[in-house]
């Protein structure tokens, strides 16, 4: 049924989140508490087999030093001491080099790469032309009759990042709305303003080598959003971002 023409134009926007890959650093209170918990656990524990073996061997060494004559047990036999094992394990651990938590992209502040700020959520921002202005926005596309708003948001994602993107959209319902009226110059009876509905999705795949994004894009954290978004828009977006 043809509905009466509403004065608001509808847009579907997608907030694509890259979830954190490493844990956030502990705060001061958390670190102190973690140390205390470790100490209490140590105090309440019993000796393990390895520790008992180590204590016995230390005793034996002491006795040998004091008595200054060879024990009848250890003549000619090479016994692996618990301390030697520990040293060996320590050496092996030091040889292993883990990947750094602060990547190169972090240091150079390359905001277009996905490899920065691995401990926080990253959001996709694209530069779009609205009216006669170039603005940094969450990717949005106008709604066309015959599709649900969720598919509009998916289309918005596909136009900017290609079809091969794999993202898990969290439900059919929008997470937020930004309503604005057009400037008086282009406002008509039928075209008062626009409503932008935001949808949230988690990025599943992290390789972008095949697809070249069509426009200028950035991956930013919640704190950095303020550098790019307009204040009113930012206020509405911040409401549905948990960080």
């Amino acid at each position: 049924a043809a509905a009466a023409r509403r004065p608001w134009r509808l847009f579907g926007a997608m907030c694509l989140l890259r979830l954190p890959q490493i844990t956030q650093p502990l705060e001061k209170g958390e670190e102190e508490m973690a140390a205390l918990m470790g100490q209490i656990e140590l105090e309440k524990s019993c000796y393990s087999d390895h520790e008992i073996r180590k204590l016995q061997e230390e005793e034996r060494l002491q006795r040998r030093k004091e008595s200054l004559d060879d024990d009848d047990e250890a003549t000619g036999k090479t016994v692996i001491m618990a301390q030697d094992l520990e040293d060996k394990w320590e050496q092996k651990f030091l040889q292993f080099k883990a990947a750094p938590r602060i990547t190169d992209a972090d240091k150079k502040n390359i905001r277009t790469s996905l490899n920065r700020k691995l401990d926080s959520n990253l959001m996709l921002l694209v530069k779009q032309k609205i009216g006669n202005q170039e603005l940094w926005l969450l990717p949005q596309v106008e709604w066309q009759p015959g599709e649900t708003l969720r598919s509009t948001a998916e289309r918005a994602m596909a136009t900017f990042l290609g079809d091969q993107i794999q993202a898990k959209i969290l439900g059919n319902a929008p997470y937020g709305i930004y309503k604005y009226k057009f400037p008086r110059a282009i406002r008509t009876e039928d075209n008062v303003g626009a409503k932008v509905f935001f949808f949230k999705a988690f990025l599943q795949s992290s390789d972008f080598t095949q697809t070249e994004p069509k426009a200028d894009y950035l991956w930013v954290t919640k704190n950095e959003l303020g550098d790019y978004l307009k204040p009113e828009y930012l206020k509405k977006v911040n409401r549905f971002l948990l960080d």
Binding site: C46, A99, K179, K195
Partner: protein, 202 residues
Amino acid sequence: VSLVPPESVSPHVLCSFSCSSLLCQRSPLRGSHWQSSVLTLRTSLPVRAQPKKKKKVDVRREQAQKDRMKKKLKKLEKAAPELIPIEDFITPLKYSDSNRVRSLPTLSPEESERRVLLLKKWCLFKQKQDEAEKKAIQCLVESQQEALKELRLESEELYQAAIRRDEELFPFQREGPTYTPPLPGYDPPEGKCVDITKVYTQ
């Protein structure tokens, strides 16, 4: 039972007796083999029949054995099933030796004071964190409600499509964050993991 005169009996009727040919010769001609006198005659001629007393006793003994087994099974089934022991709650005996007790210096009063104060600070920290989380979730829910309200004002069918349940969302799986990011080109050492957990069946 109809009595047929012996003269009219044909030879093939005689042969239909289920006894041996010997019996046929010895027993007098009977018309119908349902007559009881034939049966009495048979018992007096135990030529090839099995001893019946042993059969009955066997059958009875077997049945009695079966009943006893069934009763035992029922008793066992009625008993409550054994509880599966929780391995984590049972301390192995070797850890209750006295040489296992750790020898550490006792806590000084300053240290215990510091600990108590730290625990109180932690309490407050966690309370604030929890409140912040709840506030953020509340904000998110409000934002969503507002969006749905506006959508309803726009078009009813879009609203209905939006509030429909998303079947593909659950089960939702995601790998949690680790301490360091994955090392590109890392070759883990070879090895086989042998699972030695004890499995109990009731």
